[in-house]
């Protein structure tokens, strides 16, 4: 295993171990997702709009905000006891450091989504059936991209006084393009259309991932080096 990857996995493993010990961000994000789904469930009028038409938007709104809640903690844990200085001081490339934090964030958000999806099916009484593989692929592609951007922004805002408030303000505009395409992909999938019908949307999400993962790796050093 390469040295850079070894460092990244050590950092990601540290974040996962700390999170599994405290469950602070996973628990708060999962509870948040459940509450949002519950509010949407009771606030909608099922006779006015068909569930299948409304469900994609509700799913993505829930995933978006729950993900922001999960990512908020990524760098706030590094503020304790100046621990981030220890990472910056180590002979670890900034790319490895980014990759480690990114992998941990990606794992957190995917876990939150894995909790959210069954709740979503339960609340809205949906039969995903054949839409499930396409939906999982869409979730994965959208998550890869916005977590990449979220990791950079959570590093940027960690030293500010209102980090929890700043992260969504900075991140949400960058999440709009993948969200638009994620919703556009999810709508036909829920309507029972085949995966081949949503390939353009999936291609856009893949393109967004390549562009923003690359940009985030390049920008991270400038963000963390004072």
């Amino acid at each position: 295993m390469g040295r850079a990857l070894r460092h990244a996995l050590a950092i990601a493993g540290k974040d996962l171990r700390m999170e599994l010990r405290t469950r602070t961000s996973l628990l708060s994000a999962a509870v948040f997702a459940a509450l949002v789904l519950m509010v949407f469930n009771f606030a909608r009028d099922p006779t006015a709009v068909a569930t299948v038409d409304l469900a994609p938007s509700i799913l993505w709104v829930t995933v978006t905000f729950a993900s922001v809640v999960a990512m908020n903690r990524a760098f706030t844990v590094e503020r304790e006891n100046g621990a981030f200085d220890g990472l910056l001081l180590a002979p670890v490339s900034r790319e490895s450091l980014y990759l480690g934090k990114y992998l941990a964030n990606l794992a957190f958000v995917l876990i939150v989504e894995a909790i959210t999806l069954p709740l979503f099916v339960l609340f809205f009484n949906l039969d995903l059936g054949g839409a499930l593989p396409g939906l999982l692929l869409t979730l994965l592609l959208a998550t890869i991209g916005f977590v990449a951007v979220g990791t950079v922004f959570s590093a940027m805002v960690a030293k500010t006084r209102f980090a929890e408030l700043m992260l969504p303000i900075l991140l949400l505009p960058f999440m709009v393009p993948p969200l638009i395409f994620a919703v556009k992909t999810t709508v036909p999938l829920f309507a029972g259309r085949p995966l081949s019908d949503v390939l353009p949307g999936l291609r856009f999400l893949a393109l967004y991932d390549v562009a923003f993962v690359t940009l985030s790796v390049l920008l991270f050093s400038a963000v963390v080096d004072e």
């Binding site: 050590a10 540290k14 700390m18 844990v77 006891n81 100046g82 200085d85 001081l89 002979p91 080096d225």
Partner: protein, 238 residues
């Protein structure tokens, strides 16, 4: 490969501003192996800024820092390998045990057996029995020793200490002085930032006084601390 008599640390023209405030104004510094620099100065003189610049944690707006012949920059992670830092904070994660914290540091420094090294440095700090405790479960003195253990995990040749005696009682302070005495070797250089020269006077080989981001004094440690106090007060007044 740097020449044998090359300085371990060569800082040239370091300058750093925070808005209108000049924290460092063209500071030069050479440190050779075996040097122990006692870094003094009034509040806001630029001591911590200089220390963080020497650690590579702060990018100076002008000037450069070479450590063991390599320029410190974000692009060369191995240039930071010789550096150990003991800061105001412990650099330890509260959610990890002492052992886990040190093993993580060992992995990041590519040590061949991080666990064995962690147990060795914890034993040296008389913390081996507390290895499964978390930092917040320790007393202030123990936390300081744990921070020292972390700083020494990779056996650094440049040890930077930012007010290491702060918050320690007399016994813990004496213990830290004794440890720093042991760490003062011909291969290692140290910089000790403090507000009280007497805390580390006997350890020092050189003394530097920063005033307004410039050297007010930089030279060998004078023999007489009491006489130096007068010099310090003159220099600090500008």
């Amino acid at each position: 490969m740097p020449p044998a008599d090359a300085p371990l640390v060569a800082a040239r023209g370091l300058a750093r501003r925070y808005g209108p405030v000049h924290a460092l104004r063209g500071v030069d510094l050479d440190l050779h192996p075996g040097d122990v620099l006692l870094l003094l100065g009034p509040n806001g003189a630029g001591k911590s800024t200089l220390l963080r610049s020497l650690a590579g944690l702060l990018r100076p707006q002008a000037g450069s820092v070479m450590v063991a012949g390599r320029r410190l920059s974000g692009d060369d992670p191995d240039a930071r390998r010789p550096i150990g830092l003991l800061s105001h904070q412990s650099l330890l994660y509260d959610e990890l045990t002492l052992l886990e914290n040190l093993v993580l540091a060992g992995r990041l420094y590519d040590l061949p057996d991080p666990r064995a090294r962690a147990e060795t440095v914890l034993a040296r700090q008389a913390l081996l029995e507390r290895k499964d405790d978390r930092p917040r479960q320790l007393s202030r003195g123990m936390q300081q020793r744990a921070a020292i253990a972390r700083a020494l995990m990779h056996d650094p040749t440049l040890l930077l200490l930012d007010e290491p005696f702060t918050g320690l009682d007399a016994v813990a302070g004496d213990r830290l002085r004794a440890l720093l005495g042991e760490l003062r070797t011909a291969e290692r250089a140290m910089v000790i930032v403090t507000h009280h020269a007497s805390e580390a006077w006997d350890l020092a080989t050189r003394v530097g006084v920063l005033v307004g981001g410039r050297w007010g004094y930089l030279g060998p440690r004078p023999a007489d601390l009491a006489a130096f106090h007068l010099t310090y007060q003159e220099v600090a007044r500008g």
